[in-house]
C-alpha cells in the first residue's frame, strides 16, 4: 500500500489517473480523499482555462499564398460537397447507421482495453468534442465517412456488452427514433445544437430503456469544444 506522500505525488502528476492502488489509498485515508477532491476542482478550472476560443480563421499576419490558396480550395470543396449532399436522395437515417455497421465488424469485440487517448481525440475531432470518463471504457474509436461527413464511430463497453455510438452532428432528429433493423436494436436521440446520437446493440437482448440510459450517460459525458 502506498503512503500519503506517494499518493499525492502521483495525483499531482495526473489527477485523473485511474489506478487501483491510488483508489485503495483514497478509500482508506480521509485526508487524501479531501485532498483529491480539492485537486480535481483545480483540475477542472485548469481544463476550462485552457479552452480559449480559437479564432475560426487566422489573421493574415504573414500568411503565405500557399495557405490562402489552400483555404480557398477548402471553401470550394465544402461548397461542392454541400451542393452534392443537398441534391442526394435521403434514405432512412437508422438504415444508414445499420448499413455502416457491416463495414466494421471488428469493432464489436468484448474487451477491457481502452483505445489510446490520442486515437480517441483524433476520432472525436471531426465532431469538435471530447469525452469525459463518465462514458465508460471506449474500446473502439474511428472517424468514419457517413452521409458526406466524417463522424466519430465509438464502441463503449458496458454491463450489457459492447454498444456502438455514432455522433451525428450533421443529422438532426426531432424526437427519439427507436429502431430494430437487420439484427441491430438502437435509438437515435436528438442532441440540442449538435445533431443527434445513434446508439445501438447487436441483437435484441438489450432493451430500449437500457439503450436510452446508455445514450443519456454518453451524452452527458460529451464536452463540446467548438
Amino acid at each position: 500500500m502506498i503512503d500519503c506522500t506517494a499518493y499525492r505525488r502521483a495525483l499531482l502528476a495526473n489527477p485523473r489517473e485511474a489506478n487501483p492502488e491510488l483508489a485503495a489509498h483514497r478509500a482508506s485515508c480521509r485526508v487524501c480523499a479531501l485532498y483529491t477532491e480539492r485537486l480535481l476542482g483545480f483540475e477542472s478550472r485548469l481544463e476550462r482555462a485552457l479552452q480559449v476560443s480559437a479564432p475560426d480563421h487566422a489573421q493574415p499576419t504573414r500568411a503565405s499564398r500557399g495557405w490562402l490558396a489552400m483555404a480557398a480550395s477548402i471553401t470550394v470543396a465544402f461548397v461542392i460537397a454541400g451542393g452534392l449532399w443537398v441534391s442526394a436522395p435521403h434514405s432512412s437515417l437508422a438504415a444508414d447507421v445499420v448499413a455502416h455497421m457491416a463495414g466494421e465488424p471488428q469493432a464489436w469485440a468484448r474487451t477491457d482495453v481502452a483505445v489510446p487517448s490520442a486515437d480517441l481525440a483524433v476520432a472525436l475531432a471531426d465532431a469538435r468534442m471530447r469525452l469525459g470518463a463518465g462514458a465508460g471504457t471506449v474500446s473502439y474509436a474511428r472517424s468514419c465517412a457517413f452521409r458526406g461527413h466524417h463522424v466519430p464511430h465509438l464502441v463503449v463497453q458496458t454491463a450489457v456488452g459492447p454498444i456502438t455510438v455514432m455522433v451525428l452532428v450533421h443529422e438532426s432528429v426531432s424526437k427519439v427514433v427507436p429502431f430494430d433493423e437487420e439484427g441491430y436494436r438502437g435509438v437515435i436521440l436528438p442532441v440540442a445544437g449538435h445533431g443527434s446520437l445513434a446508439v445501438l446493440a447487436k441483437g435484441q437482448a438489450v432493451g430500449r430503456s437500457e439503450l436510452e440510459a446508455i445514450a443519456a450517460r454518453v451524452e452527458s459525458a460529451i464536452v463540446w469544444v467548438g
Partner: protein, 175 residues
C-alpha cells in the same frame, strides 16, 4: 480523370482533417508561445508543412501526434527566427487580454494568468496532458524524456501552478 477525382477526395479529406484539428493546435501553440499572432503563424506554417509531407501520414488515426510533432518543430523554428527578448509576463498578459478574457469567471482568469508565468518546461507537458489528452508515455515520446522525468515535470508544474493561483499547497509533497 479518375486520378484527379481520387486526388480531390484525398485533398478534401486532408483539408477536413486540418480544419478539425486546427482549434486544438492553435490553443496548444498559443499556450506554448503566449502570443496569438505567433501561434497563428506557427499553425499556418504547420498546415503547409503537413500538406507537403501528407504522403508520410500513413494512418489517419496517428494524425494528431503527427501534427503535434510538426507544430513543436515549427514553434522551435519560429522561436529561433524571432530571437524573442526576455519577456515581461505582465506585459504579455496585457497584450493577449482579448484572448484571455473570461467574462466574470475570476477563477479561470487566475489560472490563465498563472499559466503565462509557468516555465515552459512545465507548461508544455501540462498542455499535452490536459489540453491534448496525451498519456504520460505519449508525452515522454514527444519530449524525448523518460516517463519518470515527465511525471516529475507534471508534478512540479501542477504544484507551481497551484501556488501561483494562491491554492492551499500545505499538503503537497516537497519534491
Amino acid at each position: 480523370m479518375k486520378d484527379d477525382a481520387g486526388g480531390n477526395v484525398k485533398r478534401a479529406r486532408f483539408q477536413a482533417l486540418c480544419q478539425a484539428l486546427r482549434p486544438d493546435l492553435l490553443r496548444f501553440a498559443f499556450w506554448l508561445s503566449r502570443d496569438l499572432a505567433l501561434a497563428e503563424d506557427v499553425v499556418q506554417e504547420t498546415m503547409l508543412r503537413a500538406w507537403k509531407a501528407r504522403e508520410s501520414l500513413k494512418d489517419e488515426a496517428a494524425a494528431k501526434p503527427w501534427f503535434l510533432t510538426i507544430i513543436r518543430r515549427e514553434y522551435a523554428r519560429s522561436f529561433e527566427r524571432k530571437r524573442l527578448p526576455t519577456v515581461d509576463v505582465d506585459e504579455l498578459i496585457a497584450r493577449e487580454e482579448p484572448m484571455l478574457a473570461t467574462g466574470q469567471d475570476q477563477e479561470v482568469a487566475e489560472v490563465r494568468a498563472a499559466l503565462f508565468k509557468l516555465p515552459e518546461e512545465y507548461r508544455e507537458p501540462l498542455l499535452m496532458q490536459v489540453l491534448m489528452g496525451y498519456s504520460t508515455a505519449e508525452i515522454a515520446s514527444q519530449l524525448e524524456l523518460s516517463t519518470a522525468a515527465v511525471l516529475t515535470r507534471l508534478f512540479r508544474g501542477r504544484k507551481q501552478l497551484r501556488a501561483l493561483c494562491g491554492e492551499d499547497t500545505s499538503l503537497d509533497p516537497d519534491s
